[in-house]
């Protein structure tokens, strides 16, 4: 029991790193995903193909490889670019490049969700907006977007939880700076010290579960606000479509 509480307090600061990675990546990935989804739906051949290719590549390859690849790519560009601009230590810092890769990755998954939702927006709602003389921007802001985000929210919630889970591999691929260690590295170090696999990994799992539940709860609150226009809400389900 002592070991359990000891682990709980040891891992409390570590989970902040996972939360940090997720908290930074989620909003940025969200914005990027909106553009990617619109790009996928764009009639412009070039934009369309670029967005599709991007989404396919990032959903089709493991995040783990993406971390390695982007870190060594950024490293090889260091002397040519980051150094002269004076952002060397910053760009290659796990606290920067970690979220960067997570953003690139989650944006692709989120874009796919948004794109699916975009195509599911009722045609009639958009036609009504057209018929009343709204401009394309007004149509998007007032009708398409509100519909899209409601359709996408349950799947997006799952993606957010998975992004949080994905933060577990950041430090398996990137160097550790000082004592900045996340949950996984902390748990792994502890296991390597005393071989108490069940205890340390269970406590780490507990942290992941707890934060996942908090995410579900918060996003569920938002969802019920979004869906207050429906008397019977479609239930949020823990059913991820895609993961990394």
């Amino acid at each position: 029991m002592d070991g359990f509480f000891n682990d709980l307090s040891l891992m409390a600061p570590a989970v902040l790193f996972n939360i940090y990675f997720a908290a930074v990546s989620i909003p940025l990935g969200f914005v990027f995903a909106v553009f990617l989804a619109l790009g996928k739906a764009s009639p412009n051949g070039l934009i369309n193909r670029l967005s599709r290719g991007y989404v396919y590549a990032f959903r089709g390859s493991p995040l783990f490889i993406q971390f390695f690849m982007f870190y060594s790519l950024a490293l090889s560009l260091n002397l040519a670019f980051w150094k002269p601009w004076g952002v060397s230590g910053f760009v290659l810092h796990p606290l920067f490049i970690g979220p960067l890769v997570l953003v690139l990755n989650t944006a692709a998954y989120t874009a796919e969700i948004f794109y699916g939702a975009l195509r599911a927006v009722p045609r009639g709602a958009i036609e009504a907006a057209q018929a009343y003389g709204m401009s394309p921007t007004q149509q998007f802001r007032r009708v398409t977007w509100p519909n899209l985000i409601r359709l996408a929210w349950p799947a997006y919630t799952n993606e957010v939880v998975f992004l949080f889970h994905a933060t577990a591999i950041v430090y398996f691929a990137l160097p550790v700076v000082g004592s900045q260690k996340d949950l996984m590295i902390t748990a792994k170090d502890l296991v390597e010290r005393d071989f108490n696999t069940y205890l340390h990994f269970s406590v780490a799992a507990l942290y992941f579960l707890a934060v996942s539940l908090v995410i579900f709860f918060l996003f569920g609150l938002i969802y019920s606000r979004l869906m207050r226009h429906l008397p019977a809400q479609p239930r949020m389900r823990w059913a991820p479509k895609w993961m990394r």
């Binding site: 009639g124 057209q130 003389g133 709204m134 007004q138 007032r142 429906l230």
Partner: protein, 268 residues
């Protein structure tokens, strides 16, 4: 009021508000409209009838350019809607013009197409606020009045999904009316409703007709078409097969096809 962009002599009587000239429209290989022309004058109620798939909805949607006709012109208040390109690649030419014109045409869709994420009141206020950029206080007063008029004032703060079909239909009518349109376009305003609700909605439309509002409507209800219309147009295979006053159309029927259609309608 009427700009003189077209050379036709202005006929006596009320001014033309909607004028279609030789409209053609194909979907891929399927030619749906094969040259349709008619005029709706101020205060007139025109009903489009015809069998399923005859192109009634398509024709109505061409009036506000939700479908762009391949050939032919649409004039609203005598002003031709600018179009560019040829055939199936034809597009609206002037975005600002079409938005201005659309906000003069109140369309009521067959499936209502209310915006599900807004309350009824917000639905009704949306276009006046966003498109016409009128003051909120004024719009809200008008919107509430309009909802009262169609009999669902009490439902202003409900969401569309909380309303029955007939209430939704009336909300859609209120939404269309609130932009104070020159013309109301109705696509089968009652086909999705049960008989009871049908009566409710028809009552509202008759009210509008009595107020002298210009209307073009697609309907399957011959009784209703007869009682409310000034002109009835029978579409068949992409062409106007018959056109006339209700008495002419429903009285001594002239064409065999119309006869057949009306017989079937009596049984359906």
């Amino acid at each position: 009021m009427v700009s003189m962009t077209h050379a036709e002599p202005v006929p006596s009587g009320p001014l033309p508000v909607v004028e279609l000239r030789d409209l053609h429209k194909s979907f891929g290989a399927l030619e749906v409209l094969k040259g349709i022309s008619f005029t709706a004058r101020e205060g007139q109620v025109i009903s489009l009838i015809g069998s399923s798939g005859s192109g009634k909805s398509t024709l109505l949607r061409c009036i506000n350019m939700l479908e762009v006709p391949d050939r032919g012109d649409v004039l609203i208040d005598g002003e031709a809607i600018a179009l560019t390109g040829e055939g199936q690649r034809r597009r609206v030419g002037d975005e600002n013009q079409i938005r201005r014109i659309r906000s003069e045409l109140g369309m009521v869709f067959q499936s209502f197409n209310l915006w599900a994420h807004m309350t009824i009141l917000e639905n009704v206020m949306e276009a006046p606020l966003i498109v016409q950029k009128r003051a909120r206080a004024e719009v809200e007063a008008e919107a509430r009045a309009m909802l009262d008029k169609v009999g669902i004032g009490a439902k202003a703060d409900a969401y569309p999904a909380q309303l029955s079909g007939g209430q939704q239909q009336r909300a859609a009518i209120a939404r269309a009316l609130c932009i104070n349109p020159r013309v109301m376009l109705f696509d089968e305003p009652t086909s999705a409703l049960d008989p009871e609700l049908e009566v409710e909605v028809l009552r509202v439309i008759k009210l509008l007709a009595d107020e002298g509002r210009t209307m073009v409507l697609v309907t399957h209800d011959m009784e209703f078409a007869r009682s409310v219309s000034d002109q009835v147009i029978f579409l068949h295979q992409g062409l106007i097969e018959e056109q006339g006053t209700p008495d002419e159309i429903f009285g001594a029927t002239r064409s065999a096809r119309l006869k057949q259609f009306l017989n079937a309608a009596n049984h359906g």
